[in-house]
Amino acid sequence: MCLAVPGKIVSIIEDGNLGLRRGRVDFSGIRKDVCLDYTAEARVGDYVLVHVGFALTVVDEEEAYRVFEALRELDQLDELKVSAPQ
């Protein structure tokens, strides 16, 4: 029960009337209104994970790329092994 889609916050509306902090979020060219009440720290330009119309977390971009760095290091290790004398 867990489809959460990442999108970029384009604008934020603090709607005093409804009491809900809303954001306009861009998903690959599609714009949707999302409730930001659970991500008070989210700012315009941040990526959030959205589930059934609610942002539940701000994506940690540094962490997001960690796995690719690790894979690159693996590649380098492999190359060392290949080029090392048998």
Binding site: M1, Y38, G53
Partner: protein
């Protein structure tokens, strides 16, 4: 899509698979809990990339699959009431109750509507003051913050024609049930990343210690799942049993505090019956007393009989990972997506339906184990 496509990159996935193959020296059995993870695994054919020594079994992470038939019957009965607009996520619509699904009820004239967010249902209630709007709140902890907000807002705005039929379930109690079963083969868990995004992962530490199983908080894309598997294998091979977080781009140890607060404002923990498993204490959520007037079970009281399951259906064994779907005699024969005997065949998150749709199905009247195997 950014933060999605990168985790579907073929080269990265192949490399991670290679890492797993290199580090696996013994057979291991892992369970992924969430239906969304099962779906990705079977849909992308991830099992084809794993060494034979690694067995993946699929847990009860499909809230649709574990919703008791009686609850569906209740939903159908409420939907059939003349003034009711019954709202639900699409996932629940096709699950058969003892005689009908919500989709059938819709075909027969009930006002059943698919919504994307519980707030849509609340808006419908505000827009239709002369109707009773009921929202079917089925899900794990991931969906609880949204459902909690809808009720909280309904109370704040004094919306009197809105109520929720709650069938929320919690993951950690289900994991304990599986681990404490005598037949348990699971040696490590891939925990549901989005559940942990909300709840954090503190509650898995005692489970990991008590049963000495690695628990890896894992995401949903192919690279996430493989990395989670790799982290689990690394622990298993070195005899460790800890909680680790693969999905760190989305999950922090304490989880989302604001969401947890709203959930506990609105809901309290209760016992729940998991279809195919039975009653698990403290494994579900129900509305607190202050919100009782938004509880559809109380607003529409009715006698619903406990329904009988098909004697052939082994969904309990499948949901606990004790049997694979194709090990069921009825699989792809008497039990198909068109004629499901139990819930894991109805919901596409369910293991049986996923196996049927994506590769483990009938060929010339005989169940085929896998397309990859068939071609070998």
């Amino acid at each position: 899509m950014k933060f999605l496509d990168e985790y579907r990159d073929c080269e990265a996935v192949q490399k991670m698979a290679q890492t797993i193959r290199r580090s696996t020296t013994r057979p291991w059995t892992l369970m992924e809990v969430c239906g969304g993870q099962t779906h990705t695994i079977v849909k992308t054919g991830l099992q084809d990339l794993l060494p034979e020594a690694v067995t993946l079994v699929h847990g009860p992470g499909c809230p649709v699959c574990v919703t008791p038939i009686a609850m569906i019957d209740r939903a159908v009965a409420i939907a059939g009431r003349p003034a009711v607009i019954f709202c639900s996520f699409g996932d629940m619509l096709r699950v058969p109750g003892s005689s009908q699904s919500l989709f059938d009820a819709k075909a027969l004239g009930a006002d059943v509507r698919i919504v994307y967010s519980p707030l849509d249902a609340l808006n419908l209630a505000r827009a239709n003051p002369d109707r009773e709007v009921v929202f079917f709140a089925v899900g794990f902890e991931t969906t609880a913050p949204a459902n909690a907000m809808a009720v909280w807002e309904a109370k704040r705005q004094n919306v009197s024609n809105f109520s929720m039929l709650v069938s929320h379930v919690l993951v950690p109690p289900a994991m304990e049930t599986i681990l404490s079963s005598a037949d348990c083969r699971v040696q490590a868990f891939l925990a549901a990343g989005h559940v942990c995004m909300v709840m954090g992962f503190e509650e898995y530490v005692p489970i990991s210690r008590k049963y000495r199983v690695p628990v890896i908080v894992t995401g949903f894309e192919p690279l996430d799942l493989l990395e989670g598997i790799q982290m689990a294998i690394a622990q298993l091979e070195s005899g460790r049993a800890e909680v680790e977080n693969q999905y760190a781009r989305a999950v922090r140890r304490p989880g989302n505090h604001a969401a947890q607060e709203r959930i506990s404002d609105v809901f309290e923990v209760t016992r729940r019956t998991w279809r195919g498993i039975g009653e698990i204490p403290a494994s579900g959520l129900r509305l607190r007393e202050t919100y009782y007037r938004f509880d559809a079970e109380l607003r529409f009281p009715m006698e619903i009989r406990d329904a009988e399951e098909s004697p052939e259906c082994i969904s309990g064994l499948v949901l606990q990972g004790i049997r694979k779907p194709y090990e069921c005699p009825a699989f792809a024969a008497r039990c198909t997506p068109d004629t499901p005997l139990g819930a894991p065949m109805v919901s596409s998150e369910g293991a049986c339906a996923a196996y049927f749709h994506f590769g483990r199905r009938i060929q010339d009247g005989n169940p085929v184990v896998s397309i990859a195997a068939a071609g070998d």
